[in-house]
């Protein structure tokens, strides 16, 4: 009995161990050698610890930013970044996340096995992020324990099939094949961009006949892009807050130097978290893929958003610019309304805006790409404002989930729970 207690309360209640066990189950199911199993499990646990370690780095920089922005503009500024929010959230919901992710993947396989929707969602980091967001929202709505994990897994497994399913008609257009699906939790934005392209665009005039300068391609380097844009935002906030206030925070360091170092610190934190996420997923995703392919005949792998980039490189750039412009305009609208201000993050606008551009181009050419990505940019600016109130304590973290589907799923789920609980 005491051993059972030790197992339940001392071992299985450690989120990193639980995540390691998920990897171990995957490794064993694939009949890997003992050394592979040990190596893989340890690396997965290490990855989860690295993921959590990044939180300390990003939170420091975010708090400084938040104080400067608040003092300078009189309202709160939110930096939407999936990695940052997940790394903060894992402290409270790591255990639930591990279980929801594990059972969510099983639900995905079951749905794909027994229905006509054969999608297997392989974008593991989004599975992880969505899992933790669902856990946070269910907990904020008053759920806990087995019911939280059960409901969370069902929701996660369902959205892992639902979003690829609604993207598939557009994917067929873009890639010219029905073999491969699209798995990224920004799909609401892409489908809307695709529809806008269809209604208002002209398919004949493709973006790919245009020439755009390549100078912006350095933004593909995620940590550099984050450091660069956060640098601009930090400096603007520092100037708005004033030299005196900012140097009070910095302990006397010059306010511009302080801003630049804080921006790069934030990017460094995200970099650490990315490394952790990569290690957490290294064993879990191949196991999931291997098992799914065995159990689901004609399984369609649903892949991360850059899968569409090579089909329309110009739409990628145009989509980013248009989405980012919408993000900037949206930010001023939020300021004027006195709502929490969503800072346009270059990463969500680059990856998601670019994808919206490709979807818009596929149905409506260059006009479709520009308009579709613009509406997408507005969407990912306003959705987080509505999402934050349903996230419970996580809603006060100065950062939040960035991509469209997190907003859509989270807002729906949070408000449905409110009806039942209150």
């Amino acid at each position: 009995m005491s051993f059972f207690k030790f197992l339940m309360y001392d071992v299985l209640s450690v989120p990193a161990v639980l995540v390691g066990l998920v990897a171990l189950v995957g490794l064993l199911a694939q009949k890997k050698s003992a050394t592979d199993c040990i190596k893989g499990t340890i690396k997965t646990i290490m990855g989860f610890i690295i993921l959590g370690a990044g939180a300390g780095v990003v939170v420091g920089a975010l708090n400084h930013f938040s104080e400067m922005f608040q003092y300078g503009f009189g309202i709160s500024g939110i930096v939407p970044n999936n990695e940052a929010i997940v790394s903060i959230a894992q402290k409270a919901f790591g255990k639930e996340m591990a279980l929801i992710m594990f059972f969510g993947m099983i639900v995905n396989i079951i749905i794909a096995r027994f229905t006509k929707w054969k999608y297997i969602f392989l974008t593991g980091h989004h599975t992880l992020y969505m899992g933790i967001m669902i856990a946070a929202i269910l907990a904020a709505g008053g759920m806990s324990g087995v019911s939280l994990v059960a409901v969370g897994s069902l929701i996660l497994g369902s959205v892992m099939v639902f979003f690829p399913a609604i993207a598939q008609p557009f994917m067929k257009d873009i890639t010219g094949t029905d073999e491969v699906a699209f798995g990224h939790f920004g799909t609401t934005g892409y489908v809307i961009a695709g529809l806008i392209g269809k209604w208002f665009g002209n398919k004949e005039k493709s973006t790919e006949e245009m020439e755009l300068p390549k100078a912006l391609s350095f933004l593909r380097d995620t940590p550099v892009a984050i450091a660069f844009t956060m640098g601009i935002i930090f400096i603007i906030s520092a100037i708005a807050a004033g030299k005196e206030f900012t140097e009070g925070l910095s302990g006397g360091q010059n306010y511009i130097v302080f801003s630049i170092i804080q921006a790069i610190t934030f990017a460094a934190g995200v970099f650490v978290i990315l490394q952790g996420v990569r290690m957490v997923l290294a064993e879990i995703v191949p196991a999931f893929k291997g098992i799914a392919e065995k159990l689901v005949p004609n399984a369609k792998p649903a892949l991360d958003c850059p899968v569409v980039f090579p089909y329309a490189p110009t739409a990628v750039l145009l989509g980013f610019l248009s989405s980012f412009a919408a993000g900037v305009i949206g930010m001023f609208i939020l300021m004027a309304l006195g709502l929490p201000v969503i800072i346009p993050g270059v990463v969500p606008h680059f990856f998601c805006g670019a994808t919206a551009g490709v979807f818009g181009n596929a149905t409506g050419g260059r006009r479709g790409a520009i308009l579709g990505a613009f509406v997408h940019g507005l969407l990912i600016t306003f959705l987080p404002v509505l999402l934050m109130p349903v996230l419970g304590n996580l809603g006060y973290a100065n950062t939040t989930f960035s991509d469209a589907d997190f907003g859509v799923v989270g807002i729906l789920l949070g408000n449905i729970l409110k009806i039942f609980v209150h």
Partner: protein
Amino acid sequence: MKILVVCGSGLGSSFMMEMSIKSILKEMGVNAEVTHTDLGSAKAEKADIYVGTRDITSQLEGIGGEVISLKSMIDKEDMKRQLEETFKKLGVL
């Protein structure tokens, strides 16, 4: 031999390509270490072959290995053909 697969964040796409490459290598009977990473880290990581889609491979030139530039990350035939060519060039096949 080490093959490094690269994408913007080093999370999703490069990971998918890594899994495809691993299964191709198995078919070909070639032994190699295959890992994935982000664009920034790739520049500091030594590998014999760097793989990416054509929208980012221009940034992989000059690091000091062979660069395979893919038109699409889902075209396994093209992936296999380009890997074969590079292996021949390196004297592995």
